[in-house]
Amino acid sequence: MIDRRPAWLTGVLTICAALLAGLAIGPAVLLVMISLQPAGGDMSSLKGAGEFVAHTVTGAPVDPVTGQAGAYKGATTRNFQDAWEKGNLAGPMLNSVIVTGTRAVCNVLLAALAAYPLARMKFKGRSWVFVLILATMMIPDQVIVVPMFRTVVQMGLADTLIGVIIPFSVSALGISMCKQAFEQIPASLEEAARIDGASTLQVWWHVMLPLSAPTLATLALFSVIGAWSELLWPLVVLQESKNYTLPVAVNQLLGEFAGNVRLAYAGAVLSLVPIVAVFVLSQRFLKPQMFAGGVKG
């Protein structure tokens, strides 16, 4: 048995844990504070931040240092209203939900469909098809963004959400994750379903999918995180502001209201909240083991 950890080591580890947590949360706290700050406030200096907190806690439009009445400098939801209305964020929020949801569903379904024959069927060309699929992982989408865009234009999908969704509706990584999960499922279950008269598609739907649910959930979560965050591709494809996804809209806010950066910060918080909520609700699917399988492909 390894001895109990000495107290000093536990102390050091606890300090490291606190520092790491501070590093992870610090920028988000700053973001939220600035998004709540009223016009004319000063968040960037320590004194300004202190005043902000004091005003927020006491709620009084009184200068905490001099004791004199002044403008209220505490938290306000004004920036959120302004960002929502002036930045027209309702459309981008809906667009982001559509793009993210569709991409997650497509990623899971198309990857699971493709993985089934690769994991379970005997056919000519199986191994070279799989190698070809894996080879697409070697091609960074940043390298092929020009011809990808040209294809989308030629398909008449420029400036549409479908154009944003289609190229990333399935990935080699997803196919490989599903293939590994399917290979773990005992063949006897498949055969039993067959004897009961199930078709290939029914076996896939009623046996393979439910039994690999944790992997599929992880794949869905990866897709959601990636799609919600993506900026480069929607920036290339989308032109009209009504078609923007949230990251593109927030990027627009940053340029358009350069004089009042608080709007972009409020927009950033609005795009952060849904994804954090999704993550916290589904974090039980994020097991370290999934990352071992996932990155090795």
Partner: protein
Amino acid sequence: MKGVIGQRWYTPWVFLLPALVVLGVFFVLAFVQVVYFSLTRVKLFEGGETEFIGLENYRRLVSTDRFWWCLLNSGIYLLVTPLIIGLSLGAAMVVEAGLKWAKGLRLVLFLPVVTPTIVAAIAWRAALSEDAGAINGVLRAVGFEGAPWLTQWPWTLLSAMMVTLWKGFGFYMMVFLAGLLAVPRELKEAAYLDGAGRWGVFRHVVLPSVWPVVMLVFVISSISALKVFEELYVTVKGAAIEDQTVVPLIYDAAFERGDYGLASAFGVALFLVILTFSLVNMKLASRGKEGAEG
């Protein structure tokens, strides 16, 4: 690996079809096209016609100073890799130590990963702001001068690297956790009984077992550092292109200047760099693995 009863010859292909169409059109075909475009002058919006001009774009690429600056900057950007390995391995070890709240800590450290890059970049812009940001504030308080984080090379690169590091370390922490959890407990106990101290167990048992994972993370995070775009595009918005890396250069050439041929040549060059890099990496990784085993 049994064939399914009653399977027709086309059944597997029906299942594969949607994925093959998407990957074929948007990755395989696009890759062939990017190579072809790099040899042409492309008029994207005039019917998409292309005019073959041989190696002209590559001649322009070689004689463009910006390309070499951006390539150098991509090289500098790779320095984020050792930092990310150190931070994520450290974080994984802290989480794995089994403190109270370890599950909660893991959750919190993964939050930057789910944060959209643009949100992370905006938050860091506030911390890095030149006259008033928290980071310059701290630097001044301890007697340094503040740095022009958002406007001047090479500080701009460093700022974007901080965002990459912040957003990425939680992901690699999970990869390392998987590696650490796979180290057999008996092995650690045996080494401990043989008189290896805590440090000895780490040095001679844990580190060799996770070494392949270190190599893996090295490869993945280097490749993603070479592909960086969003961190630079938002964090140091408006910085000169020659102060950025290769992907912003591709974006600028294609979508700001409409020079698709040259942009494609930049793309092919980046692909070759990434390919070389991953091949060398894999070679080193396999050698490192043999070393660890032998």
